[in-house]
């Protein structure tokens, strides 16, 4: 072990574009170059995915090597002489892009990912003015069958990031590679479409796709129609949107734009803008109550959170025998939508059908969730963060210079605990804050549970309360969730409470968020959420005055009759391939 460690920290010096640079043994050329401010173009490489070296765009010239070498999968060596921009390299890159474009429909102006496309960017960077190779092109219909995700194979450049995410990280196996050579394509198996596939709508494929081959199934048009329908429009924004929306307007990653977001939504024409964070606080109250009950009765443990619709579909498909472990709580989005159409509708004296609820979510799977039988007639539309940005631009709003505005009440007030729902480990932390108070019947000082923060795939923690140890764990990505479910099936799971989020990093890395290039970007988003929590006065969900009020006024006791009807749900078995 010691020897290996020593090797890993071994310094290596080599020449990179005429300058001597230093790296560690075992590092890839592409990464070392990046650290030295040399951005070698690459398409198929992603920090989170296994490197396959398939796009060949990142090739560089290494002295003494016969062929150009892919910098993404070439280890650095002592004394090597690397040129990342020799005429030979640049020519190869140009031909590479030309070849990709020759088999591409090239309708950038009307593409969903216009100006958000790596292929487009590199085409510009490498001065491609003409495509010299004209010939057969891939011909395929767009797959618009899915409620959440559109797939357009004519724009696919076969970088395999979507398949690597779907199969390698998420273990959903909705799509895979088919045929070979020029006929190779990525599609669901057996000629099925996306709707009929295993797809859980998490959208992790959309966020890694470098081109317009994958995008969300857009509801912008429907929402603009609704805005002009004369009905009463309510928007709710998920906790993570505030930390990511700014990126769509070229603001620095991690800029919190809560006030501007609310102002923009009002400027667009929403009558009320509520915060999903409020419902997150209710979720905690319900979930903590449910957990305390289960923990005392030692029944159906571990209990697993159910805020993530992609995770729910995943569980319904692959682990339907273990659905008893799922919390019966709805997701915060569904809770708020249900409260708007009942409690709030009564309050403002309107019929539920005259109110339109538009959810601003970080998530493509929410589009699927609102159409579940259990939630029909509650939320009407889901816009992702990216879609909201497009809507704001369409409405000529100068987002960056907007004056801040506040959420509306009564469904707008929230605590720091509600906000941290936006990142992995957040729901667990918020739940612990409340459960600890419930179990000890005190207002404890301990608020931060740092062991379940960060980007570790399985973050464990344990707390001792009233002489009992509660073992918890927060998991992101579905591949990790699968491991937990396998452990439960085998009877090897020692946890009492588990949080599962389908997307890497939680909702800040959701399928409807702006695409990010590296994990550093994601870390900034996470930091923004944590800072936001720190700044709030009330940081425990059950102490939210609006929450206390709504329970008193309308819901009654947590986990009781009305709460159950409004805030809880059921799950069902689904088939998978």
């Amino acid at each position: 072990m010691k020897k290996a460690k020593k090797q890993n920290s071994e310094k290596i010096k080599f020449i990179l574009d005429n300058k001597e640079v230093e790296g560690k043994r075992g590092e890839y050329l592409l990464d070392v170059a990046k650290r030295h401010n040399i951005e070698i173009p690459h398409i198929c490489t992603n920090e989170r995915l296994e490197r396959i070296g398939s796009c060949r765009l990142c090739v560089v010239e290494i002295q003494g090597m016969k062929r150009l070498a892919p910098s993404c999968s070439t280890y650095i060596r002592e004394g090597m002489v690397v040129n990342t921009r020799s005429p030979r390299v640049l020519k190869a890159r140009r031909i590479n892009i030309e070849l990709l474009l020759a088999n591409h429909d090239r309708d950038c102006l009307t593409c969903n990912q216009n100006l958000n496309c790596k292929l487009q960017r590199y085409s510009e960077d490498l001065l491609i003015h003409k495509i010299r190779y004209e010939g057969e092109k891939r011909k395929e219909k767009k797959d618009k069958s899915s409620i959440s995700i559109w797939r357009d194979n004519e724009k696919c450049i076969l970088c395999e990031q979507c398949t690597r995410v779907c199969n390698g990280i998420q273990t959903v196996y909705a799509i895979g590679k088919q045929n070979r050579g020029f006929d190779m394509k990525v599609a669901p198996p057996l000629g099925l479409n996306m709707e009929k596939s295993n797809c859980v709508n998490c959208g992790q494929c959309v966020i890694v796709c470098p081109t317009g081959a994958l995008s969300e199934n857009s509801d912008i048009e429907e929402v603009t129609n609704a805005l002009n329908s004369g009905k009463f429009l309510v928007a709710q924004t998920a906790p993570s949107i505030r930390a990511t929306l700014g990126e769509c307007f070229n603001m620095k990653p991690g800029t919190v734009v809560t006030g501007k977001m609310v102002a923009a939504l009002k400027a667009i024409g929403f009558d009320k803008v509520f915060s999903t964070d409020f419902a997150a606080d209710i979720t905690i109250v319900e979930e903590a109550t449910e957990f305390v009950k289960r923990f005392k009765e030692n029944r159906d443990l571990p209990m697993i959170t159910t805020c993530c619709p992609a995770w729910i579909k995943f569980a319904e498909q692959f682990y339907f025998e273990q659905l008893n472990h799922m919390s019966s709580c709805r997701s915060p989005q569904a809770m708020l939508a249900s409260l708007v159409k009942t409690y709030y509708a009564k309050k403002i004296n309107k019929k539920p059908k005259d109110i339109i609820v538009v959810d601003i979510m970080p998530c493509t799977a929410k589009k699927f969730e609102i159409q579940r039988d259990e939630f029909k007639g509650e939320a009407d539309y889901v816009l992702t963060t990216v879609e909201l940005a497009k809507l704001i631009k369409q409405y000529n709003i100068d987002f960056v210079n907007l004056e801040k505005e506040e959420f509306d009440n009564p469904l707008g007030e929230s605590t720091g605990a509600g906000t941290i729902f936006g990142k992995t480990g957040g729901v667990m932390e918020a739940a612990l804050r409340t459960a600890a108070d419930y179990l000890t019947k005190k207002d404890l000082r301990k608020i931060d549970y740092k062991q379940i923060r960060g980007f570790g795939t399985i973050k464990e923690g344990s707390i001792k309360l009233a002489g009992k140890e509660i073992k918890v764990c927060a998991v992101h990505t579905l591949g990790e969730a699968r491991k937990i479910m396998e452990d439960i099936r085998e009877g090897n799971c020692a946890y009492h409470f588990v949080e599962i989020m389908a997307c890497y990093g939680g909702c800040i890395g959701g399928g409807g968020q702006p695409r990010y290039d590296d994990i550093e970007n994601l870390k900034q988003r996470q930091k923004a959420i944590i800072d936001n929590d720190k700044k709030t006065k009330i940081r425990k969900s059950h102490l939210n005055p609006s929450v206390i009020k709504i329970y008193k006024e309308y819901i009654g006791k947590p986990g009781q009759k009305r709460a159950h009807r409004l805030l809880h749900t059921k799950y069902k078995k689904r088939c998978y391939l």
Partner: protein
Amino acid sequence: MIKKITVGLATCGISSGAMPVYNELKKANLPVEKVGCIGMCYNEPIVTVIKEKSKEIYGNVTERNVKDLIDCIKKNKMCRELFIAKNIDSLNFYKKQKRIVMENCGIINPDKIEDYLEKGGYSSLKKALSLTPAEVIKEILDAELRGRGGAGFSTGKKWQIIAKKKGEKYLICNGDEGDPGAFMNRALMESDPFRIIEGMTIGSYATNAKEGIIYTRAEYPLAIKTLQNAIDLAYKNNLLGKNILGKKGFDFELKIIKGAGAFVCGEETAMIRSIEGKRGHPMSRPPYPGEKGLYRKPTNVNNVGTWGHVTTIFKIGLKEYKKIGTKNTKGTKILCLTGKVKRTGVIEVPFGIKIKEIVFSIGGGCPDNTKFKALLSGGPAGGCLTKKDLENPLDFEVMASLGTIMGSGGFIITNNTSCMVSVAKYFTSFTQEESCGKCTPCREGTKRLLEMLTQISRGNGTEETLKRIQELAEFVQDTSLCGLGQNAPNPIISTLKHFKKEYIMHIKEKKCSAGVCEALLSYTINENCVGCGACSKVCPVNAIEGKQKKMHIIDQEKCIKCGQCYIVCAFKAIEKK
């Protein structure tokens, strides 16, 4: 007295109709025995009558003339019409050959282990077992054995790498022969399977790898059947399994895995993935299979021929073995001689033999007094050798310096009826179809290359097309991920180098001198025409006109160059130019 009568029943024999011959001989109550392939494809089916003191070899025995042969045999006479030779060594085809690996091919019954043992089989393993594993590797290193799969890497060095590793490791025999015009591995697997198994067993002893896999294509059913039978027999005779030959602790398990028919699976990393049950995609190296191969364990992959050589080295002894070959390369190479050559077949020649001797002494030159044009070696990954190159000796390095590769050993001869543009087009269409589709240069590049070559062969090419072909071919060579892509443009680059004139003729004069490119041909009628009208009757577009018993004329505008008139004319009155 007749001892036995052997019939060559390898795939080549069976496809030429040896099975009915075998059955007829059996019906006639003759002591008939099945053997493998002796190498003389041009004489198949081959029947050898072995008497007490002499042998008679008969060729081209068919279902029709086998009765004559049986009559002769029964009368103890020689059947003059079918007789070839008394001994193969007297044939020109064999005079320059050196059969040390193929010594048993076509001689022994591949289904009987007794036959193999009688010829000195398993003496090599016994010799190896009398040495220590390190000494065995030293023998292989001293013999300077180089991989026969094409690259010519030192086998001993490969073995050394994995011998040092601890724990599980694998040996693989690469029998996924897929090049057009290469069938030497099949011949060896079908005719002398024990030699391969014995070689692998020696390898297992030397490297302490306890598991071996023979990977071969499912399109080789006879090879699989023969090998499986041989493996079963080896297990029964304690030549595989536990404590082999009574040596305690020397275990080796061997099995066959069938490939689903993808050329790229001959590439070792793709093959490893195929064995693991994954899609046959090549992987970036490093890590090399010797470090992380099958199931991420150290793996050694050697070609069928290489394993055959391992057995041979121990059988004939280091001294004898090193006498054969050149300074750089020792031993022999099994080659397949096909194309426009009089004597086609599988041959085994010593390294250092002049290439001219292979083509003219062994192959007998081009048939029908046609002129030799080029020798294509290495299949779709190779290049061509022209007449002046033939003076060179057969050697890995020499071949490389001439702009081609040894490859697995398929030698295809072309003559003046072969169009080099079409040859390049054929090989490119092969690699384009067999490209796995993973990396951009190979997937998209070969497609565009093929399209441009097709343009030229249809007379639509310009000099600009030629430039683009050259540029793109170099790009594909320079940046592709695996050997398939890197070598795919070799036939194009090589034919462009040696036969640019032909390309120019296609472009400028719109002519194909070999008369292969249909679109560039024109059919005309000369004075031989007697006006029979057969051609005008058969013409599908009514392009031929003329009165009866008068010379006919082809309307060039209407003619679609289908060639029907050319076939049907009995007076050689139709000219194809």
